[in-house]
Amino acid sequence: MNFKSTIGFEVHFELKTKSKIFSPSPVTYGAKPNTETNVIDWGYPGVLPSVNREVYRLGIMVALATNSHVLPVTHFDRKNYYYPDSPKAYQITQFLQPLARDGYIEVEVHGKKNRIGIHEMHIEEDAGKNTHGTNGFSYVDLNRQGVPLLEVVSEPDIANPEEGYAYLEKLRQIVQFTGASDVKMEEGSMRVDTNISIRPVGQKALGTKVEMKNLNSFEHVRLSLAYEEKRQRQVLLSGGRVQLSTRRFDEATGKTVLERVKEGDADYRYFPEPDIPPYHIKDAWVKEIAASLPKSAADRFADYTGKFGLKPYDANVLLQTKESSDFFDAAVAAGADPQLAANWMNTQVNGYLNDNRTSLAEIALTPAHLAEMITLIKDGTISSKIAKKVFAETVTKGTSPKAFVEAKGLVQLSDMSVLTPMVKAVVDANPQSVVDFKNGKDRAIGYLVGQIMKQTHGKANPVAVNRLLNEELQNR
């Protein structure tokens, strides 16, 4: 018997705000436990939550970037559950009137394009973070309680684990380029829950779905879905029934493990949040946000490969993060040659970031520096070799490349009236090289270039020296 899979995703993004969704508690990643909470976060009696405007604004950005329709009227609901990660014993979310509905994104798998529907997206508050000890206790940090989340719920349109992977990649890129979230799975600013059901080919009704929560990486998503496809098939083929449940992916074994049999929606006893008024989202505001949307990764790719003539591979490396793409764009805007800027970004700059485990935001090099240095290379003031020295200085100390080159006398020696007699003298001093050259030994010229470089402390223009040496040797 053949089966057909139906896969859906619920992806949570932490929205990049300075304060929480319902209280002004600060939001700082890595703060000391329980230092960024207040009476609203804990749900003390008599407190009144108030909604952070920025949460709506960032949510609307993602809605627009995923072709979703922003609902004109939204309101919050209370979802009741009892767990130590929330002292309130409820989560404020949007159950009935979410932020946006009916969007889609386009994915490509093995050259085949497909549109994946987005059912809805809503804003809600995060819960605290539990750390499970081995001594029979868990440890709760409520700093995360009340951090704004945007939950994006896909339609169950996804046919296989590969397409699921492509959907997540694309969604992450889209959200990242709106600037609404850091989308870092390792820091929990992007969290993926997936669900999968299978049914015999030809059967209309969907099978019973199994959910998997908090997968650590896209690769785990793919592996756990592939495992579930196989497991559910075996269950059905042996005459069993798939249980409506939540399972967990076990990294060590590559298997999924039953975590709990699911509580039905009714058990959360949702009701309209009485402390927060409804929100009417004006069309004018949505239009204003649309006008402020940063350029999407797809549009940037088109510019990089079209207008700038970069190779698709180079363009994609630049587009791995919004920070790197923004940095490149700023360097080009400051006058850098796009191809040279891309080369420097993707080799020297990335190399430096990886070697030093740092980020573009933390280094001393600015896009203006990069542009300045590239201009010095382009107009022949410095050689690529010297440029590496300049880069090492600027990236660590923030020294202006131009000022550094002038102060250290690193300007490339291209003056023919200086180089020509130097070349003659070197050839005179090395008669064997002339013989070697005449005998077709190309290495001879390399040796002579080395001599000139030695005399000029690496400042001679290598292109000019090569040309002059060739002429001189041929004339002997």
């Binding site: 300075k18 304060s19 405007r53 920025e54 559950y81 029979g136 940090d141 409520l142 975590e259 929100y279």
Partner: protein, 100 residues
Amino acid sequence: MEVTEEMIKHVAILSRLEFKADELGEFTSQMGDIINMANQLAEVDTTGVAETAQVVDRDTTFRDDVPEHWQDRDTMMKNVPEKANGFIKVPVIIDKDDND
């Protein structure tokens, strides 16, 4: 609406509440009374009254995204029964694996 003992047991599990078996009858009838009192609202004629999720006259009230420190950790943790290194210490809360 009739509140049954099964309903009370179910809600007690969801709410992590424990009580003695001989208290069940009393809670069931009390809860039934509360629900029935609230049900009196159904007798009000609401013809022509718009549906709403709230009764105060507020709409679309936003706060600016400005962080403020209100209470420090010591203040917030005053009522925490057990703490360790700034964390709230609770009995282990991961569900037991039920592997198949």
